[in-house]
Amino acid sequence: MTRSDLGNGRRERWLFLGSGLVVILAVLLGLAREQRWGQPMVMFRLISSNATGLRPGQEVRISGLPVGQLRSLQLQADASVAIAVEVAQRYAPLIGPTSVARQGQEGFIGDRYLEISPDPQTAGKGKRSSDQRLPYEQPLELAPMLQQLVQTQKDLQATLRNTTRLTANDLPQTLRDARLSLRGIHSLATFLQRESASTAPDLRDALRQISRAGSTVEQTSTEAQQLLRISQPELIRTLDDIQTLTNTSQRLLQNLLGLFGPDSGGNPTQSPQPAAPLRPAPGGPIQHGLPR
């Protein structure tokens, strides 16, 4: 196809260049939309000892929503890795002093992303510098965890082995003893049941008799109280008479002593003490004033 061929009057359709232009524009628009071209971004820097699982272009999320991208990874002189993260400026106030970056993953085999814990700042809390540091939390390393898991499994197996050995030796003996004890308790219970069945009627009779005796005693007590209440004035009077008789006898004896002279014994200077009159204490038992 030469210049003369091109000038043969054929009208161009511009199919290739037109469609190519459309595709290029669509790709550019897609890239601009997905990569947030023209959006003001704030750069954050993280320092990590290990960049496993991180790669440029990775999504940065806050509360599960994309807010930026991981820009670059750079190995430092001290073997640490400097990670540059871009976050859209309108989401930057969500990152504060207590924010921590860590790796996240969707499910077990899903895409990895960088999650920043939110720490919302108020609007006028100072101007944000263009390059800030964020603490980075290392993801859980799988190899040491697996080693620990293997060690734990070994310990668990040893414990299970010991438990099995213990139960194999001691448990049958314990069960045998327990069975014997239960059998003894059962026979004892049977014996007690039989004994109680045989003694229950006698016991019931005895209890009935005791109850009857108790009633009789109560009745007797009541009668005694009534008798005492009836005989109390008579008894007091009798005691007064006895006292009077005693005083009279004493006076008679003194007279007889005076009649037979002082040498016959006794002490005429000592006058006998009169006996205390017998008076019942109010509401109390009967007291007598005889010398003890």
């Binding site: 030469t2 210049r3 511009w14 290739f16 469609s19 890239l31 939309r33 990569q35 272009g57």
Partner: protein, 215 residues
């Protein structure tokens, strides 16, 4: 309008027409090749190698942008356009220069079409149901600098092949060598030149980087 500007304008229009006609010839095969490559790589990676769909698609982009995209596009274009280049090399009106400009344009557009076809094929072959979401995630991982570098490489390769083919072809045709034989020889020479350029590029100019994004 000065005469030089008029000539430049005419050359540009002529180059655009050439690019359109050559592009129409190459567009379909390149799109088909991209689609097949995308389907094949993702299918192989996700089913036979047991990789995740995301990893497979990233591998596909890496292959297309960094390893074989520009080379494959250039090779297809060369195979399809070589007869036309030979024809133009004999043109005494300087048509070969316009052919170089058209080749650069064709290489750039074909590379973008190839990338889109490969991504479409890969997304269609991936087991994930959310095709649009996957496409968007992929786009978020492709850097413009990588895309521009690939387009530039494809354009550069195609221009170099076009220039080589026209230069060598004109000399061979002037010696009355049969055009079929010239075409066959130039195909082999073009392939060798392409591989040499690729080697030079990845060793000296732009070494391979095993990521889909810029560092």
């Amino acid at each position: 309008m000065p005469a030089s500007l008029q000539r430049l304008n005419a050359a540009a229009r002529h180059s655009l027409k050439l690019a359109e006609r050559d592009g129409e010839r190459c567009g379909g095969p390149v799109l088909l090749a991209g689609l097949v490559l995308g389907l094949g790589v993702v299918e192989l990676s996700s089913s036979a190698l047991g990789q995740t769909s995301r990893f497979s698609l990233e591998l596909l982009i890496l292959l297309v942008l960094q390893l074989m995209g520009p080379m494959l596009v250039t090779l297809i274009a060369m195979a399809l356009l070589l007869p036309r280049w030979l024809e133009r090399s004999a043109d005494r009106h300087g048509g070969w220069r316009e052919s170089l400009l058209a080749s650069a344009l064709i290489g750039t557009v074909l590379m973008v079409l190839f990338l889109m076809a490969a991504i479409t094929g890969g997304v269609l072959a991936s087991p994930r149901a959310d095709l649009v979401g996957e496409f968007r995630e992929l786009l978020s991982g492709v850097l413009l600098s990588d895309l521009l570098r690939s387009c530039f490489r494809a354009a550069f390769f195609l221009v170099m092949l076009c220039a080589w083919s026209q230069l060598r072809g004109r000399r061979r045709l002037q010696r009355d060598v049969a055009p079929a034989l010239v075409s066959s020889d130039l195909m082999v020479e073009g392939l060798m030149l392409l591989l040499g350029l690729k080697l030079l590029w990845i060793i000296a100019i732009d070494p391979l980087r095993l990521t889909t994004s810029a560092q």
